[in-house]
Every structure is written in structure tokens, then in C-alpha cells.
């Protein structure tokens, strides 16, 4: 199955949820997905198109458009096509369904996106900070308007 058939199969299965599909090359395909149906799409991808390998999942902040994109890069152990799936969330209240039930290793990626961007994952088994200390929760350091922490640097302590 080549990249074109995959993207056709995806858009016929989810005519409402998947939009802006694009074939970049014979190993790179792109699609956008409505946030509420991301779990169904991922289940279909894994079951029917053998996209069983979640390469990574992360956020990108766009303060100008007031949006946060959650990007899923999904590959496979069977074929070398990589799908970049994007869900666009409002920046004030980013919430999206967790895909941990589908991709086991999404757990840490989602915890990291939560602590760095403030994206809340619904039905995540254990949503707590991964790399940051607990008291930095709420500062969302990888958002573009993060100003650093001038009050916590050594210069202010001495």
C-alpha cells in the first residue's frame, strides 16, 4: 500500500474528522484531525493501516493565531511511510482526548506536552509532570510568551 492509497483510505473513512490531507512524498503524508475524534482516527490507523509506531507527540505554540497544535508523528515497523497528524486546539483552554489506550508510549509524550504547554489530556491514566519539578506546573515554559524565571535565578538569591 503506498502513500496515496493510505491517505485516500483515511479520508474516506473519516470524511468529517480528517481534513487538509496532503501527500508530501512517497514516504511522508500529512493530515489534520478534529480534536474530538483523534482517538478513533489513531485506532483506525493502527488496526487497518499498520501505523503501529508512534514516533513522537508534541505541541507547537502559535500565539498569533491563538492556537496550540498537537502533532502526532506516526510511523510503522512494516512500511516506511510517516504520517504527521495535527490537531488544532484553542490556546486558552487546550483539551484533547488521550491516545494512551491506542499507543502505549504516548503516556510520557503526553505528560511532557502537558507540563511544557499546558495541554490537558482527558482520560490520561496519570497526568503529572515528567521532567519539570511540581512547582513549575502552570508556567508552561515552552509556550512562546514564557519569560523565563527572573525571580528564581541565582542573581536574585545572593
Amino acid at each position: 500500500m503506498d502513500a496515496n492509497t493510505m491517505i485516500d483510505s483515511l479520508s474516506t473513512q473519516f470524511p468529517d474528522a480528517v481534513y487538509d490531507t496532503k501527500v508530501g512524498s512517497n514516504i511522508r503524508i500529512f493530515a489534520k484531525v478534529k480534536p474530538e475524534s483523534v482517538k478513533d482516527v489513531c485506532t483506525y490507523l493502527k488496526k487497518n493501516l499498520s501505523f503501529g509506531h508512534l514516533c513522537c507527540e508534541f505541541g507547537v505554540d502559535y500565539p498569533g493565531r491563538n492556537e496550540i497544535e498537537v502533532v502526532y508523528v506516526i510511523g510503522s515497523y512494516e512500511h516506511s511511510v510517516i504520517l504527521t497528524l495535527k490537531a488544532i486546539l484553542p490556546r486558552d483552554n487546550p483539551e484533547i482526548e488521550s491516545v494512551v489506550d491506542v499507543y502505549w508510549n504516548a503516556n510520557w509524550y503526553e505528560r511532557e506536552t502537558y507540563e511544557l504547554f499546558g495541554v490537558k489530556y482527558l482520560n490520561h491514566p496519570d497526568l503529572k509532570p515528567l521532567v519539570l519539578p511540581e512547582d513549575m506546573l502552570g508556567e508552561w515554559p515552552l509556550r512562546k510568551d514564557y519569560k523565563g524565571f527572573p525571580n528564581k535565578t541565582a542573581r536574585n538569591l545572593v
Partner: protein
């Protein structure tokens, strides 16, 4: 992991500083008697915020930063980062530079495996093996030093090429080192396979099945030890790998012994690749001709776009996702390290093993915490 401790149970914290670990992470193991009931990995002691730092550096400055993700795989990290920019800006790398990159990246694989394997042998009590591998690794490091000018953080790759050409007489030096290294690897293999104590600590211990490994997203030697022939160099070739002959080293067992065996075989394959490269390497420029790219690339603006580029790291699949907005700094860089999923195999793998095997299993993954935390 459930924090509640039942009767005759206790929680043991291994780490953040522990001899089995190359970097700081904490393994909380819940024990009943000597058996691990449940475990959990805690991260964050060495979080450097490299993804945020890269957003505030120009593309050229970023090369030195990505070196620091994991010093053992500095060259492959650079390859993934530089490859992203080359795809975005549509830069063609001349063949000679591609060959030099392959040579250096395979050297970096050899030295990483030598350190990882030797360290691992010392975790299970085979301390003299560590001394052997470190001695042989020193020859490889000297060769790398003679080309890049640095031992660990090389900053060797540039957009469109490499910093320096191979020095005079490099091929002879390589051949001299490889004669010794081949003998050394054979003797390691013989020591590993003949040592009864080592075998009883590793054969059949920590068996990772292919289904679980695929589910967790593992790549690299831990995955290939389970029988899955997944290698980015073959499945999604970059540089001149399509022109080179090499095989993907696979083992069936999936246990600790198989993981070490895959690393031994891969070192032999890497040496074979380097020899082919040195025979085939064409003469020519190191940077695309007629462009501004060179050793000191001027401040460059990269066309807007998004790209995901992945390479085969010594530990597995290293991928960079780069978003460019057309300025001289990347808008967002996501680093997908191979150890990030590999480390998550520990809780399922450790369920039901004896506490003495924790070190044998966790060490065999060749984890690099610096890369997981970034």
C-alpha cells in the same frame, strides 16, 4: 505505580545516583521479598531544556547545542539536526562530504557500543571487560579526534557538508586500528560466550518480546535483539547508505545476552561499512559549489516549513521535527530520542524478576538519561 504498600512489601529507590546508571534517573521498585512487584521510572534530574534553547539560537549555533543531547551519539544528533535544515532549505550535500559523514557516524556507533557494552559487563560483575573495551575505544577516539578535532562533542557537521576533510594517511591508520579491533571483538565474544557466570546472569533474563517492544515504540539494538529487522539506514535511507552493503544484525532471543550480541555484530558491520566508504570515497569538494554554504555559513534564513528527519543512532531511531517560520532561528524543534521509549520498557520488563536482576536488565538497555531529559 500504586504508592500503597501492602504487608511484607517495601519500596526501594534505586538512584538518582546509582552505579548501574550512566545518568541520573530514579527507579522506584516495589518489592515483595526479593521479587519486584511493580516499578516506576522518575525523570528530570538532568533536564536542560534543549528544545527551548534551540529556539533562541541561530541555525549554526544549534549544531553545538545538539551535540550536548548525548555525548556518545553527538555525530548522529548533528546528522538529524543538519538533515532537517538541509531538507527545509533544499541543500544538496556533495558525495565526498556524505561519505565522510557516514564514516564518522559509524565510528561514533563503534565507540558508543564499546562503552555501552563494557559498562554493561561491569554492571553484572565482569569489571575487567570494561577495562578492555575502554582501551580499544581509545584507539577509535583518537581516529575521530584526528578528523574532527574533538573527542566527544565534535561540532563537525555543517549545512551542506562537513568541517574538515580526512587527514593524510587516514586510511592506513584505520586499517591498523581495525586489525586490533577485529581481534578484540572476537575475544570479547569468546569471553562472553564461554564465561559461565556471565551466561547464567544474562541468558534468558529480561526477555523482551517483539510485540511488547513494538507496542512501546522501541528501536535500535533492544528491538533488533527481539528479531525485528528495523533499521532506519535500510528502511529510510539517508546519505549514501543505499550504495553500501551491510546487513541488519538481528537476534531472536530478546534477552540480555542477545542485546549485547547485537551490539557486537553491529560493530563488525560498522567496520565493514567504513572500509567500503574508504575504498569508494570520491574526490571532490566538501560543500556544494556555487553556494554560500561553507565552514562559516553566514547567517541564514531557512524557508518556512515543517520537516521530520530521522537517522539511526547507536541506540535506535533519532528523529528531529523542525518547524521553521522563515527567520534565522528555528520556530520549534522536537527531539525524538531513541532511549525515551526504551526506558519505558523497564516497568513491564521488571515485573516478577529478582532484585539482583534489575541492574542486569536496566543496564543492558544502554540508556542515556541525558538524551531522555534533553
Amino acid at each position: 505505580m500504586d504508592e500503597k504498600v501492602g504487608p511484607s512489601e517495601m519500596i526501594v529507590h534505586l538512584g538518582p545516583q546509582h552505579p548501574m546508571m550512566p545518568g541520573p534517573f530514579r527507579l522506584n521498585a516495589k518489592l515483595r521479598g526479593e521479587t519486584v512487584v511493580d516499578s516506576e521510572v522518575e525523570m528530570g534530574w538532568i533536564h536542560k531544556g534543549i528544545e527551548k534553547i534551540l529556539e533562541n539560537k541561530t541555525y549554526l549555533q544549534g549544531i553545538t547545542i545538539v551535540d550536548r543531547i548525548c555525548y556518545l551519539a553527538a555525530l548522529t544528533n548533528e546528522e538529524a539536526y543538519v538533515g532537517c535544515v538541509e531538507k527545509l532549505a533544499d541543500i544538496e550535500v556533495p558525495p565526498r562530504a556524505q561519505y565522510i559523514r557516514v564514516i564518522m557516524e559509524e565510528f561514533s556507533r563503534i565507540q558508543s557500543h564499546l562503552l555501552g557494552m563494557g559498562e554493561y559487563a561491569s554492571f553484572v560483575g565482569f569489571v575487567s571487560m570494561f577495562m578492555y573495551t575502554i582501551r580499544d575505544r581509545e584507539d577509535v577516539m583518537t581516529l575521530m579526534d584526528s578528523v574532527t578535532g574533538a573527542r566527544v562533542t565534535h561540532s563537525f557537521l555543517r549545512f551542506g557538508g562537513v568541517k574538515d576533510d580526512l587527514p593524510e594517511g587516514f586510511k592506513d591508520d584505520v586499517q591498523r586500528v581495525f586489525v586490533n579491533l577485529r581481534k578484540a571483538i572476537d575475544s570479547y565474544e569468546e569471553l562472553f560466550s564461554s564465561d559461565e557466570i556471565y551466561r547464567s546472569r544474562t541468558v534468558g533474563i529480561g526477555v523482551l518480546t517483539a510485540e511488547v517492544a513494538k507496542d512501546i515504540g522501541v528501536s535500535g539494538p533492544p528491538l533488533r535483539a527481539t528479531g525485528v529487522a528495523f533499521d532506519i539506514r535500510r528502511d529510510e535511507p539517508y546519505l549514501v547508505y543505499p550504495d553500501l552493503d551491510f546487513k541488519v544484525c538481528v537476534q531472536k532471543a530478546g534477552d540480555v545476552y542477545a542485546r549485547v550480541q547485537v551490539r557486537l555484530d553491529e560493530m563488525r558491520e560498522s567496520m565493514y561499512i567504513i572500509e567500503q566508504c574508504l575504498d569508494q570515497i570520491p574526490k571532490g569538494p566538501l560543500f556544494p559549489e556555487g553556494t554560500a554554504y561553507g565552514r562559516r555559513t553566514p547567517v541564514m534564513r531557512v524557508p518556512a516549513g515543517e520537516v521530520f528527519h530521522r537517522v539511526e543512532d547507536p541506540r535506535g531511531e533519532m528523529g528531529f521535527y523542525m518547524v521553521s517560520d522563515g527567520s534565522d532561528k528555528p520556530y520549534r524543534v522536537k527531539i525524538r530520542g531513541p532511549v525515551y521509549p526504551t526506558l519505558q520498557t523497564l516497568p513491564p520488563l521488571l515485573k516478577g524478576v529478582k532484585i539482583a536482576d534489575i541492574v542486569a536488565i536496566a543496564g543492558s538497555m544502554d540508556t542515556c538519561t541525558s538524551e531522555v531529559d534533553r
